[in-house]
Symmetry: C2
């Protein structure tokens, strides 16, 4: 692929900006007068033809304006967009909201999702902060009825898992309590690997519980995290490209199939470090559900300790210039919160 001249870059930028704004194909004449270019429409036309030739633009039909291709958007995001910070006033509004909700992890997540969805007019996704290598912290065994026991596992990152066990025979709450205490003394603070290398227990009940715990930790490790917070689903329906309900369905289905979503988050964001914002345009050939969509993703938290993922999904012509700084800023805020509250143990 040949390089673009300065003028071609400028024109590509204008086409993308205008199309993001209007959702319409943009023509040569429109560019010239809307941006007061010192060029004739014929010149622009030639450049448009060249850009189309190189795959950055395309025409919906013979005699319509140009629309950016995936490649076009990608070039725009990586080379043409000036990276601006979020306006300070917006920053203050957002951080103020977080300040008011600083008790509860659940509230952070909900709030982050809500802010992202509002600011970007897209669908937001936030996963809870999650330790990369789970530390076990505490187990609680609570007898409920007969052989049923409620087990509550607390992880080092604040993750709480609950599970109902059915024992072979009824066990008293006293015995459960002492078992839990013994287990806590032995395995508190240990990672999965350390647990696996423990010697076998003499007590059958203790050994059973321990096995269940390691199984649970292993499955928790595999996932990015349990709950995924989503907001702004209805935003996607207001976008003109999703009035066709078929497109809308395909995109929304992604949020119902949580496993696909988790997979996507895991695979893309694990590559980049914390702080970097990744932009996924048009599914990148891998995700068919996202053919018409883009995602702006970032990872937050304390690397090596607890991290989570957050991002925004929107149409391919979403406002990257506004969404990217927002995602970056919210990721930063959440990182701070994680650091203050569960980061350094």
């Amino acid at each position: 692929m040949t390089d673009l001249t300065e003028r071609q870059k400028k024109i590509l930028m204008l086409v993308v900006r205008d199309h993001i704004e209007t959702a319409q194909p943009v023509g040569s004449q429109r560019i010239v007068e809307h941006f007061h270019l010192d060029l004739s429409s014929a010149t622009v036309r030639n450049e448009l033809a060249a850009l189309t030739e190189q795959g950055f633009l395309r025409q919906p039909h013979t005699s319509a304006g140009r629309v950016p291709t995936e490649e076009g958007y990608r070039y725009f995001v990586t080379h043409l967009m000036q990276q601006v910070d979020l306006p300070e006033s917006v920053q203050r509004t957002i951080s103020h909201q977080f300040y008011q909700a600083r008790q509860d992890i659940d509230q952070w997540m909900t709030l982050a999702a809500s802010i992202l969805a509002h600011q970007s007019q897209g669908v937001s996704v936030v996963t809870a902060p999650h330790a990369e290598r789970a530390h076990f912290k505490h187990v609680e065994l609570i007898s409920t009825q007969g052989r049923q026991v409620l087990m509550v596992l607390v992880m080092g990152d604040g993750d709480v898992d609950q599970q109902i066990l059915t024992l072979a025979e009824p066990v008293s709450q006293e015995r459960l309590g002492t078992t839990a205490n013994r287990l806590n003394q032995q395995i508190s603070g240990k990672t999965l690997d350390e647990l696996a290398s423990l010697p076998m227990h003499t007590d059958a009940l203790e050994q059973d519980i321990l096995t269940i715990i390691t199984t649970d930790m292993r499955s928790t490790d595999a996932r990015v995290s349990g709950e995924i917070y989503v907001d702004g689903l209805t935003n996607v329906l207001s976008e003109p490209e999703f009035t066709d309900s078929d497109n809308a369905r395909r995109a929304l289905r992604l949020f119902e199939e949580r496993s696909t979503l988790q997979d996507l988050l895991a695979r893309t964001v694990m590559n980049s470090g914390v702080g970097g914002v990744q932009v996924l345009i048009g599914g990148e050939g891998t995700w068919d559900e996202l053919r018409q969509c883009s995602m702006v993703l970032a990872r937050y938290g304390v690397p090596g300790m607890a991290t989570g993922t957050l991002g925004v999904l929107g149409p391919m012509r979403m406002s990257y210039a506004r969404t990217i700084p927002t995602v970056r800023y919210v990721a930063g805020l959440l990182s701070d919160l994680v650091n203050e509250n569960i980061g350094g143990e």
Copy 2:
């Protein structure tokens, strides 16, 4: 409102059934031939006029077939629909799925939502089982960093709440442990009211924690429950009445505004006992977001102990004959599960 003749009932039933199936206005001729009536279309026409007069049907425009009104659907559901049980084969399939997921409350809820959404082709809503009057069961205090403490509350119904506290000054894990133990001995099994009437504590830390616990329990009591499980959102987009994206937005927004949804679930279902299925047609004048929709709701669980709500939202012309038995059956299954696992303490 005058009573309907047998023939009018029959015709109303046929109109509703046909319209549910085809989503089209249904005319006199169509009824006669499609259901092999021993009547002429003219006679049917007269009856249709009478039913329209009485408010059970309406015409989209002068010369189109008839469409049921909200009243029409309501009459259909309460008087005309034969209540059939779910086919045994379907029952077995469903109960088998539940059998495979009997460890985890979270999995029950997810599964129930998934089954309801699939069977009814609508949007399903399930809330976790929740004690009507919360019993406190256990508190756990875990020091994370400095003055930050993770508090985990376990309720009698298996509900788990976590919260991050910021204490006035750092406290050692040992002190936290003994405080938690003392609190557990004093207040385990007590209800909110009983907690409120406890004498003041001498230990400041203990008293603080206790205050936080009661505050938390009070706010948990107010809500129906924390998490709401939703599935099948995309189903609503396939329905012809929601191709207009404006309608779809209004309905979907309900699921983003969880508070409205909780309010709705609380208010409608609290009236009816467990086991009864409630049908809400067209928002019943109260909920504007549901003008085009119906909901089939039921309460499950052990009354007086732990109950939850579940239901399905669909277009007004949803298949009540299939949805109602499904909702009833799943509610029954969940009731059994609650009973076996957390019901009798």
